[in-house]
Structures are given as structure tokens and as C-alpha cells.
């Protein structure tokens, strides 16, 4: 989706800039494969306000704040990103220091996401051994979402089939059946999903119920657009706003230093 504003930015660019603003200096940022919006967001944040961020890609740890360009990888498994490494984050034992993942920030998608931020990468259907749609699998999401300090659900689409009342399977536990102690009751230490960012809007989770709640709509999108595209009754924040558009500086840095090849504009 391309906005016809003065800046003529795309919704992917809007999402990346929004997400970059959520990231704090000192965060350890782990991006999975094939997620260009978070990939761009962590690079932009690192350049703009995160000299002490740590970027974790493909098992390598890096701090590349001083580099002139931090271009997006050409494809998911582009190992050239490890040329920036200062160390390897796992050295053959990926999960030997999850204790310190309270500093980590993670980004997750899904084939289904429910109103409590539980996500499904297993598949759609009733019978696990004969699914209607077989998903790619959980990757590391069950483990990462259990331990990271906070995470963001980032979706490339916003449809009623994707944002559902209840996932057929849960591969990453968000807020379970709801309530602020949903995770604590199960002894899950990580801070849980914070926001869900889609091409239409940004949703947070209501403090008391941990139900997904419309927080801001992107420029040109109406509340009804979002409601129609969502498979569950959506709460609306009483502070509902329009998603803040990228500043000139943000967009300039994004395009010149992070996404010179225009991946987010195609």
C-alpha cells in the first residue's frame, strides 16, 4: 500500500519507522528470517538512537552503529550479515543463556493470531496429522516468546482469517485466555507480546483483559476498515489516534542507509 502523502512512503516504511520508535537503546534485537519490516526497524533504531543495541542475526551478535550503511539482507539466509559479528550468540548451544533474554526484543508473525496475542505457525485445521494448511513450524518461537523481555507481533496482512477468535493451534503463548497474570500463572518469565502491527493499524493489549485493542489506525484507514478485517470483536482504545507518520529524518535515513535497494517500497 502506498500513501499519497507528501512523503509518498509505503505502509512497510510506516510500520518499520513506527516499530523503530518502540526500541530502546540497550535492547538486544533478534530478528528471524524473512521479516523485512523488523529487519529495517532494528537497523533504523540502531542508527538513530541505539548505539548500545545489539543486533542478533543468524547466530551472530553485532553492533554496527558506526557503519555508514546497514543494508537489508538480500534474502533470509544471507550469511554475509555475519561479517559484522563481534561474537556468535550461541556457539553451538543456542539456549544456554536464556536467563539474560530479558534484554532481548523479538518479532513474530503467524498463520493465525488470536485476540490474546497467541500465535500459530503450526497450521490450520482440526487434525494435526491432516491439516487444511500446514504451516512452516514453530521455529524458535515457543522458546523465545517464553523468555524475551518483550515482543511484537508484525503481520504482512490484516484479514479475518489471520486475526482469529481462537487459534487452531498455539505455537507461541501470548496472553493465553487473557488477564494480566496469564503468563505468571504458568511461570512464564518473559514480558509477552506488547503490540500487534499490521498494514492497517497498531493494536495493544488492554491492561485488565489482555485483549487486543485498537490503538492507532494508519493514515487513510478507518476504524471500520480494521473491524471488518478482524476476526474477533475488537476493543477500541479511548486514546485512539492515527499512527504518526515518519519524519523526514527517519525516512531519509531509512532509505539511504537501511533500505537503499527499496525492498520496503516494492
Amino acid at each position: 500500500m502506498r500513501y499519497s502523502s507528501v512523503d509518498n512512503f509505503t505502509v512497510q516504511e510506516l510500520m518499520a519507522v513506527f516499530l523503530a520508535r518502540q526500541l530502546k537503546d540497550g535492547d538486544h534485537l533478534q530478528v528471524g528470517v524473512a521479516l523485512p519490516v523488523p529487519e529495517a526497524a532494528v537497523r533504523l533504531a540502531h542508527i538513530m538512537h541505539g548505539p548500545n543495541m545489539e543486533l542478533i542475526f543468524l547466530g551472530a551478535r553485532m553492533n554496527v552503529h558506526q557503519l555508514e550503511q546497514l543494508p537489508l539482507p538480500e534474502f533470509g539466509w544471507d550469511n554475509r550479515v555475519v561479517r559484522w559479528a563481534e561474537s556468535y550468540s550461541d556457539r553451538g548451544h543456542r539456549f544456554d543463556q536464556v536467563k539474560d533474554w530479558y534484554r532481548r526484543v523479538f518479532f513474530i508473525g503467524g498463520v493465525q493470531v488470536d485476540r490474546f496475542g497467541n500465535t500459530n505457525l503450526i497450521g490450520i485445521g482440526n487434525d494435526h496429522q491432516r491439516l487444511d494448511f500446514r504451516g512452516p513450524g514453530s521455529v524458535g518461537t515457543a522458546t523465545l516468546t517464553a523468555h524475551v523481555g518483550r515482543y511484537y507481533i508484525v503481520l504482512n496482512n490484516h484479514t479475518p482469517r489471520l486475526l482469529v477468535e481462537k487459534c487452531d493451534f498455539i505455537s507461541a503463548f501470548g496472553w493465553g485466555d487473557g488477564g494480566p497474570d496469564a503468563r505468571k500463572r504458568l511461570g512464564i518469565p518473559g514480558g509477552g507480546p506488547q503490540l500487534c502491527i499490521t498494514p492497517l493499524c497498531v493494536m495493544d493489549f488492554a491492561e485488565d483483559t489482555k485483549c487486543m485493542r485498537l490503538m492507532s489506525v494508519h493514515p487513510g484507514v478507518t476504524v471500520d476498515d480494521v473491524k471488518d478485517a478482524t476476526g474477533f470483536p475488537l476493543e477500541i482504545s479511548d486514546k485512539l489516534t492515527t499512527t504518526k507518520i515518519p519524519s523526514l529524518e527517519e525516512l531519509t535515513i531509512l532509505r539511504s542507509r537501511v533500505d537503499p535497494h527499496g525492498s520496503l517500497r516494492s
Binding site: 539456549f95 500446514r134 513450524g137 523468555h147 498455539i170 505455537s171 512464564i188
Partner: protein
């Protein structure tokens, strides 16, 4: 008396593998050996693997069960096509897990334990769809955890940068994240390498040795093609698209293209070197990393 070399041929290693065994496929993908398994029409395997490399073995008819945390696609498909089809029709049993659950099971084996506890997956559907996982209370604080049973591997197949003939392997740019877990849990491990190096080079930087005592070392330059090999080449996107398109068509009933793909790249060749001749040096050299 002399120290014994473990340098081996593709044939020697494929002879270790029997129908029905549990075989692990590392990352970067040990494609020379993957093709040799397909070429030798081994079947009924349980594969620990991921992504498109896993898909080759399924399309090649070798697999009845997968232990997989990720079978993503790329090149226009969200999920590896042969995996997706076989899983949906029920031809393929899927041992559902995530990375942390899988590595817990692999670590249990390597540590000589019947299980290891893990927290990741608590609250999810994993213990419902995978009955081998048990929800347990820890015996000290009563916290809820998953008990993951030990996962045993008959043969692990890996790809790396270099090794000496005594089975000392050194990766460039770090090993794939799962390779050392697989190595530690496997009864036997065979490592394809881009280059054989002298033992003196190993000793000059012993900390760089990521695997020792490999049971076999196979010389296989460009042996991860069409995937990447850190420090050597990037993945061959054109070739991978060719495979993914052919496999995607195949699951819709049009077998011609995948049959031609396998005929040309697997069945008509008898070794990795012959495969490289089919790909051609021009294409191979175009895949330089930087």
C-alpha cells in the same frame, strides 16, 4: 603403526544409512550427501532437518517422518512445498517441536539422560500434538515444565569449511546453529568440507576446531550447492527457484518438472563432482560471497 585417516567417499558414508534410520541434516545443508541418499533410493527415513533441504528428501521419496521446527519456503511459497503436501495428506508424520524443545531432546541424548526439562512450549499446543512431550512438575519448586525425551540420531550429515583427515573440523563464520547439537546426539557423524587442510593448520588454531572425532570427512567443494557455505559462496537463488517451482507443480499433480530436475541433477550423475559439472563452473563462480 600410524594414525588412521577418516577421509571417506560419498559411497562409504551412504552405506552407513539403512532404510528407516534417523538421519540429521545440518545447516549449511550437506547437499552432496542429500543427493546421494536420494540417488541411492533410501526410504522410510526419519529426518531431523529444516527448510528446502528437508524438502528435497521428501520430494525424493526418502522420508516417512520429520522432526522439524521449521520448513519454511521462499521463492514464492511460504512453506516447503513437498513437506506441506505430504504433511497435509498424512503421508508424512510430523514430530512437532520448536528449536528449544528439539535441542533439549538432543542435549538429553548427548548428556546420557532420558529427558531434559524445558520451559519453552509451556501453554502451547506442542504437548497436545506431540504425545512424546510430557507436561511435568519440577521436583524442587513444583513449576510447570515440559519433559522432552532424548532424541537419538543414527547418522548426522553436516557441511563445513575445512577439516583434516583425522576428523578435526573447523567452520568459517561459525557453524550452523544446530550442527553441534546434532553432532553431539549422533551415533556417527560425517562432515562434508570445502577443503581438506593439514593437521598442522588445525593445531595452529585449536580453538577454531568446532567438531573433533568426526567419523568421516568427505571432500566436497561446493557441496552445499544450491545453498550457501559460509566463507565460500552464497545460495544459488536461480537454482533454488527452479527446484521450488518444480516441487510446487509436482504437488498439484504435474510431475514432469520435478522428475526432470531429479533426473538431471541426481539420477543421471553418480557423484558430487559429476553434479558440479552439470551446474557448471561459470554458475558456481558467480556465487562468490562478497
Amino acid at each position: 603403526m600410524e594414525r588412521q585417516s577418516v577421509l571417506a567417499t560419498e559411497d562409504e558414508v551412504v552405506n552407513w544409512i539403512e532404510d528407516g534410520m534417523t538421519i540429521a541434516i545440518g545447516e549449511p545443508a550437506p547437499m552432496a550427501m542429500v543427493r546421494h541418499i536420494i540417488r541411492n533410493r533410501i526410504s522410510g527415513l526419519t529426518i531431523i532437518g529444516s527448510g528446502i533441504a528437508l524438502d528435497y528428501l521428501i520430494a525424493g521419496g526418502c522420508v516417512s517422518k520429520v522432526i522439524s521446527y521449521y520448513a519454511g519456503g521462499g521463492f514464492g511459497v511460504a512453506v516447503a512445498p513437498s513437506f506441506r503436501h505430504a504433511a497435509q495428506t498424512g503421508e508424512l508424520e510430523v514430530w512437532e517441536c520448536d528449536e528449544g524443545v528439539l535441542t533439549s531432546g538432543l542435549e538429553a541424548t548427548a548428556k546420557g539422560l532420558p529427558f531434559l526439562p524445558w520451559r519453552g512450549g509451556v501453554g502451547t499446543s506442542l504437548p497436545e500434538v506431540n504425545k512424546d512431550l510430557r507436561v511435568m512438575e519440577d521436583p524442587i519448586n513444583g513449576e510447570i515444565l515440559l519433559a522432552v525425551p532424548a532424541i537419538h540420531i543414527d547418522v548426522a550429515l553436516l557441511h563445513a569449511s575445512k577439516a583434516d583427515v583425522y576428523g578435526n573440523v573447523q567452520h568459517q563464520g561459525g557453524p550452523g546453529w544446530i550442527d553441534l547439537f546434532l553432532r553431539r546426539a549422533a551415533n556417527r557423524v560425517a562432515v562434508q568440507v570445502e577443503k581438506i587442510i593439514p593437521n598442522e593448520e588445525v593445531r595452529s588454531d585449536a580453538w577454531a576446531t568446532t567438531i573433533s572425532n568426526a567419523d568421516a570427512v568427505i571432500r566436497a567443494p561446493y557441496g552445499a550447492h544450491p545453498f550457501y557455505s559460509r566463507g565460500h559462496y552464497v545460495q544459488d537463488k536461480k537454482h533454488l527457484k527452479l527446484y521450488v517451482d518444480a516441487a510446487t507443480l509436482a504437488v498439484t499433480g504435474e510431475q514432469t518438472y520435478i522428475e526432470e530436475y531429479f533426473r538431471r541433477h541426481v539420477y543421471q550423475t553418480t557423484s558430487h563432482i559429476m553434479y558440479l559439472e552439470v551446474i557448471g563452473i561459470t554458475r558456481l563462480l558467480s556465487l562468490h560471497e562478497y
